[in-house]
């Protein structure tokens, strides 16, 4: 059996899956002050009458990291940067940077050496910092200087945790690596404590199975590995719903999915049965990071979205004022409109009608106000979808062929999941003139996604055959080889070996079989009029995805 838990903004859900069937599901309000309480409650609910020892895998998506960042409950980070020549990042990154000498250029050649004395001096100033981060420009082309400085920081500052920029990403983008490394260290302590509490709570309930944490890219990480890269656990809620859709219904046609929860609707785009990824990474508090994530957009429309009149004009969301009146709340919400319009049949119809009467104009009936509310809510979601499609169409490309032959993304199906989907998603589909689908189990899609998600990881290998070495920054590897005797085929073979190595180190050796090529680039190096070598880049990943398709009978909703 697989246990999946999703800690959402409004509800914490759990499911048990056996042989591809959801056999139990439970829901409880999210306890913001202590996330653990809600998690424990929902586990106890879903495990009623179940032998916990039969669980062979538990996976969790949590807002602990996101909340810690939003609420500012993070640690001060000693931030060491080797920026070399280029952009002055002061003011563009969270935290206070400490600049050091040393520079590696775009081909991974050392141009200036770092200085130990500088590091020692900075460390003396930062004695009260318990966590640190080190990031060097072009370290993905040669991680040596970043490693050297890390050794010195460990020697002079002895932090409890230190994050390297190359550890969080093997891709170019120094700014994003700095931000990722910074946040990773900033949330390290709070995440470690949460992880320990979860481990203890599961052990108390005789759950001895390995525990995984969901990542923003929809993959999972063993909890023990996640402790060193907690920044990967941001934005896992939307990722869980995407995985849930993958498990419940894998769309073959280009599709749009909407996860319509209590507070927000999260939009994702699908092609060839896979969600599209964000080109560079997720944003945290307006700072771009290198955390790989799905291409998602969130809009403030959900079942609990507050409905009111402002200067005579109807307004819906983006804030919520507790649950809908139909569910015992104090303010009118979208759910009330859905109830009055007859699109859902739970909640108190009388209270819902009162809610709609409160927002109705003098000449309007409650039902008319309800439909006006729903049209507006659907239009807001539609607008966000259109913006996202326009953004997708405007994405830059760097080759002639891609521009001349590239076709724009054109959706053919809309999939709705989440509490508010059954009422609202068909209205959005109608406005977008698309057929729609609401898979059975959509109410707990996030928990299903968490339960079924596969472990993932990726590596980047870059070879420079003129210089005769390749690097795998995520593993800190610099490997020399005979100059010019290295082919793209060799690069892929080496990448496969290193991916398996990284998977094994992360406790997911068996997953290495599901690898796929993410990116390939090969350039001839010409100097004078001679080809003196090649520059190759290969990115290989264990494919994000689900362990198996999951079904759920409507009766269990």
């Amino acid at each position: 059996m697989l246990l999946g838990i999703d800690v959402g903004g409004t509800f914490t859900d759990a499911v048990l899956i056996a042989d591809g069937q959801v056999v139990a599901a439970a829901k409880t309000p999210t306890t913001r002050q202590s996330l653990l309480n809600g998690v424990v409650t929902v586990i106890d609910k879903v495990l009623t009458g179940v032998d916990a020892k039969k669980i062979r895998r538990a996976a969790l998506s949590t807002t602990i990291v996101t909340n810690a960042l939003v609420e500012g409950k993070t640690d001060k980070v000693a931030l060491f940067l080797l920026p070399g020549p280029g952009l002055n990042v002061t003011g563009l990154i969270p935290g206070e940077p400490h600049f050091l000498s040393g520079y590696t250029d775009h081909r991974g050649r050392e141009q200036a050496c770092p200085a130990e004395a500088e590091v020692a001096a900075v460390c003396r100033k930062l004695e009260d910092h318990e966590v640190a981060a080190v990031a060097a420009k072009f370290a993905v082309r040669n991680p040596r200087q970043e490693q050297l400085v890390t050794d010195w920081v460990n020697k002079y500052l002895q932090p409890k945790h230190i994050t390297l920029g190359t550890q969080v990403s093997g891709s170019l983008n120094y700014l994003r690596r700095i931000n990722s490394a910074y946040y990773n260290s900033a949330v390290w302590r709070i995440f470690s404590r949460f992880a320990q509490a979860i481990e203890a709570a599961l052990a108390e309930r005789d759950i001895i199975a390995p525990v995984y944490i969901l990542k923003a890219d929809g993959g999972t990480l063993p909890l023990t590995t996640a402790k060193s890269t907690p920044v990967e656990a941001i934005f896992t809620g939307p990722a869980a719903s995407v995985l849930g859709i993958m498990a419940l219904t894998k769309p073959v046609e280009p599709a749009i999915s909407l996860d319509m929860g209590g507070t927000t609707t999260d939009i994702a785009l699908w092609q060839h049965g896979m969600p599209l990824f964000a080109p560079d990474g997720a944003r945290v508090k307006d700072y771009p990071t290198a955390v790989r994530s799905f291409c998602l957009r969130s809009v403030g429309i959900g079942g609990d979205s507050y409905v009111r009149r402002e200067n005579g004009l109807l307004a819906v969301g983006p804030m919520r004022c507790g649950p809908a009146m139909a569910n015992g709340g104090l303010a009118p919400a979208v759910t009330d409109a859905l109830r009055v319009a007859g699109l859902i049949d739970y909640g108190d119809i009388g209270l819902a009608r009162q809610a709609m009467e409160r927002v109705a104009e003098a000449t309007q009936t409650a039902a008319e106000a309800a439909w006006e509310t729903l049209r507006l809510a659907a239009a807001t979601v539609c607008q966000a979808v259109q913006d996202m499609l326009a953004e997708q169409a405007a994405r830059p490309v760097y080759k002639v062929e891609e521009l001349v032959a590239g076709r724009p993304f054109k959706p053919e199906l809309l999939i709705g999941v989440g509490g508010a989907a059954s009422g609202l998603a068909p209205l959005v589909a109608k406005q977008l003139e698309l057929p729609w689908q609401i898979p059975p189990g959509h109410m707990v899609a996030n928990a299903v996604g968490a339960a079924a998600a596969r472990p993932t990881t990726e590596i980047t290998l870059r070879a420079d055959t003129a210089q005769g070495f390749y690097t795998v920054p995520e593993l800190g590897v610099i490997q020399e080889f005979a100059k010019r005797r290295f082919t793209l085929q060799d690069a892929w073979t080496a990448a496969g070996t290193h991916l398996a190595e990284r998977a094994a180190a992360g406790g997911m050796a068996e997953a290495a079989d599901c690898s796929e090529r993410l990116y390939e680039e090969e350039f001839n190096l010409i100097r004078g009029f001679n080809t003196i070598g090649k520059i190759m880049t290969c990115k290989l990943q264990i494919k994000p995805g689900v362990l198996m398709p999951v079904q759920m009978r409507e009766a269990e909703l």
Binding site: N88, N173, L175, V400, L403
Partner: protein
């Protein structure tokens, strides 16, 4: 006040090259891409990235006369490069950004009005296509083009040589020491547009100091006098000390400061072939300067090897500047004299060599100086080269504001040429009707 923001069209054309080992090849903007992406420039709120578009043939033919036609001489990459410049212009005109930089390839400033093939790595003039697009679609009239490439922008000069609404300023390594050999001070525009072409040939070894001397004492004051509606920068990066095709000594800081002072509305990449040691730093510096960001830390790792400017060079530049100041002060008088001397007609005969295509062209250009309008131009061209042997064409160019008499005369000249049957193709490029009409023979 709204903070400065830069629209960036980055199109490295990673799958296009003139030939595999040509300086203008797939690898050319690879290290620039690495630097831009590594710096995280595309994530900065002050920088917005735009995708290029395919320019239409009508956009190209508004400027060029291709012989026998332009389609057979270009690839999609050319349309995308010109379309990248247009996308940059649109972003500025729609006020989505305060200025824009089209970091695209292939380049264009050696492409002249008549095109028989590729010369100086250029087939179509992407700035000129953009300028005429701005005029056609946005009604922008007075435009200044400052060509900061190390090579003389002979193609752009040719296209705007008779247009008093376009001020073309090119500073470059002296043509006596570098391709394409033109760009002497004496090339000042035809009489009707006298002194709207400004050539500042600089001695080899000119540094940041020399360049900024020319900028501060000549270029910026000239721009102030001309009062353009828009400033375009033909941003070649080959004045850099490490460029393999030229002999100047400008640094990334020199270029960034230039971009900051010039305040171009749109910059379009031209040359620059030190792809590894210069382009990543120069382009980063220009992007930061145009976006109003701190560029003071953009310094090449090997900056120490940049030569110093000799005293002789400093003195030479001072003299050049003084001479140009005199011409510029007297430009109205000089123009009246040139028009009076020419009478109604002005003519030049030229040999034009297409280094990339191995084509030798002989061209006679006849300009009608009309007291009522901008007149018209007639071009008689004959080209010899592999694989076509010989080809010839006759064309009339009717500018935007031509009077009925000039229109009729220009058309008449083409019809006569067609009847004479000595040319393979005849064309009327009618800027008023915005059309290029091929006339069969």
């Amino acid at each position: 006040m709204k903070a400065a923001s830069l629209g960036l069209v980055f199109f490295p054309a990673f799958d296009w090259a003139i030939t595999p080992t040509h300086p203008e090849r797939e690898e050319r903007l690879l290290y620039t891409r690495d630097q831009i992406v590594e710096e995280g420039l595309l994530d900065l709120p002050a920088i917005k990235e735009y995708r290029p578009q395919l320019a239409g043939l009508a956009d190209i033919e508004r400027v060029h006369i291709g012989v026998p036609n332009i389609e057979s001489l270009i690839t999609d990459a050319h349309l995308l490069s010109a379309g990248g410049a247009i996308a940059a212009a649109q972003a500025v005109m729609r006020r989505e950004v305060t200025n824009a930089f089209a970091l695209v390839r292939p380049p264009g400033h050696h492409a002249m009005r008549v095109v028989h093939g590729t010369r100086g790595f250029c087939t179509i003039n992407i700035e000129a296509v953009m300028v005429e697009y701005l005029r056609r679609h946005y009604g922008v009239q007075r435009i200044a083009i400052v060509d900061t490439d190390v090579h003389h922008g002979d193609g752009t000069q040719d296209i705007f040589y008779h247009d008093p609404d376009t001020l073309f300023i090119s500073f470059h390594q002296d043509g006596r020491t570098l391709y394409p050999g033109t760009g002497a001070m004496s090339e000042l525009g035809s009489p009707g547009a006298f002194c709207s072409t400004v050539n500042i040939p600089l001695p080899p070894g000119t540094t940041d100091a020399g360049l900024h001397e020319v900028l501060d004492r000549l270029v910026l004051p000239m721009l102030e006098d001309f009062r353009p509606d828009m400033i375009i920068n033909s941003a070649g990066q080959d004045n850099h000390y490490s460029d393999p095709l030229a002999n100047m000594a400008v640094t990334a800081q020199g270029y960034a400061r230039l971009a900051e002072k010039l305040k171009a509305d749109i910059a379009v990449l031209e040359g620059g072939y030190s792809i590894e040691d210069a382009l990543p730093y120069v382009n980063t510096g220009i992007i930061l300067a145009m976006a109003g960001l701190d560029y003071s830390r953009v310094i090449e790792p090997d900056n120490a090897r940049c030569p110093r400017q000799s005293v002789a060079t400093t003195n030479y530049i001072a003299k050049l500047v003084a001479e140009w100041q005199d011409i510029w002060q007297g430009r109205d008088r000089l123009r009246r004299e040139a028009v009076a001397k020419a009478g109604g007609w002005w003519q030049q005969r030229r040999n034009i060599y297409y280094d990339d295509s191995g084509i030798q062209e002989r061209q006679t250009e006849t300009v009608r100086l009309c007291p009522r309008c901008h007149g018209y131009q007639l071009i008689d061209t004959q080209a010899q080269g592999y694989p076509f042997g010989m080809k010839s064409a006759f064309a009339a160019i009717i500018p935007r504001n031509s009077c009925p008499a000039c229109r009729a005369q220009a058309r008449d000249a083409v019809h006569k040429a067609r009847q004479a049957g000595r040319h393979d193709c005849c064309f009327i490029q009618d800027k008023q009707e915005d059309i290029l009409v091929p006339c069969g023979t």
